[in-house]
Each structure stands twice: as structure tokens, then as C-alpha cells.
Symmetry: C2
Subunit: 93 residues, 2 copies
């Protein structure tokens, strides 16, 4: 049973991180879809806080050797690209 | 080997969280020891950010069933008491 639990933890950790990343992506998409609306000034603060929270979870998972650093970097990198796309879109508006 | 790895992860998770909590405690103690000095205005912001980061790590560990929620609450609760003691001390200054 224990061997499954070990890989279970690894898979579960990555699953949780991907789910948390997905929540942030949703926030970004909602904002992208509402660019014509008056921007909620706190929106960037909310996204930054969520990104900081996710980066701490990823760092923790890497330190626990539940995921490798590359996987963590990739997860954050994808979100950061979306964030800067959102930022540029809101500048062009 | 796998059974040790499972308990290893549980113990390691709690160890990492305690070490991170210890870092925040150090920050609080440094500030407590320097109350007579002009307060760095960002100090509370730094502590809040660190507490938020730790709470996300704890939440992640609980969701992964690496620690139980009680242990996480206890860890945060201890720090929160220290934080309010610091806050009161700096008010009385």
C-alpha cells in the first residue's frame, strides 16, 4: 500500500498545484473578458497575492521533493505569460 | 523503503512548516528587540505577507494529508499570538 501512497503524494501534489493554477487562470480570463468594463483597481493586487500564494505552495512541494523544480517553474511560467498578456491588453484598452 | 518515504513525507512536511514558522518568529523577535528604534513602516506588511505564505503552505500540506488541520492551526495560532503581542508592544511604545 505504501508505494502507492508515495507516488500518490507526488501525483496529488501536482494535481493540487494545477488546480490552484487553474483558479488563477480563471481570474485572469474573467478579467480579460471584462476589459471594456471599468477595471477593479484591486484586481492586479488580487492576482499578485494569488501568484505569491501559489509560488509558496510550489516551493514547498519542491522542497518536499513531491514535484521537481522544472514542473513548478513551468506551472508559474505559463501563468506569468497570461498575466503579462492581460496587463498589455488592459494597457491597450 | 516506500513505507518510510510515506512517513518521511509527513514528518518532513511538518519539519519544513516549523522551520518556516521559526523564520517568521525570528522576524517578530528582531522587531520586538528594536521597538525603541524608528519602526520600519513596511515591517507589518512583510510579516503579513510571510504569514499569508505560511498559511498557504499549511493549507497545501493539509489538503495533501501530510499534516492534520489541527497541527496547522496550532502552528499559525502560536505565531498570531506573537504578532499581536508585537503589535501591542509597538502601540505602547
Amino acid at each position: 500500500m505504501a508505494a502507492e501512497m508515495v507516488t500518490g503524494h507526488h501525483e496529488r501534489a501536482l494535481e493540487l498545484l494545477k488546480a490552484d493554477a487553474q483558479k488563477i487562470l480563471k481570474l485572469i480570463e474573467v478579467q480579460m473578458g471584462n476589459l471594456t468594463m471599468p477595471q477593479c483597481p484591486l484586481y492586479e493586487e488580487v492576482l499578485d497575492t494569488q501568484m505569491f500564494g501559489l509560488s509558496r505552495e510550489i516551493d514547498f512541494a519542491v522542497r518536499l521533493q513531491l514535484i521537481d523544480a522544472e514542473a513548478g517553474k513551468e506551472l508559474l511560467g505559463t501563468l506569468e505569460k497570461q498575466l503579462s498578456a492581460l496587463h498589455e491588453a488592459s494597457m491597450r484598452k
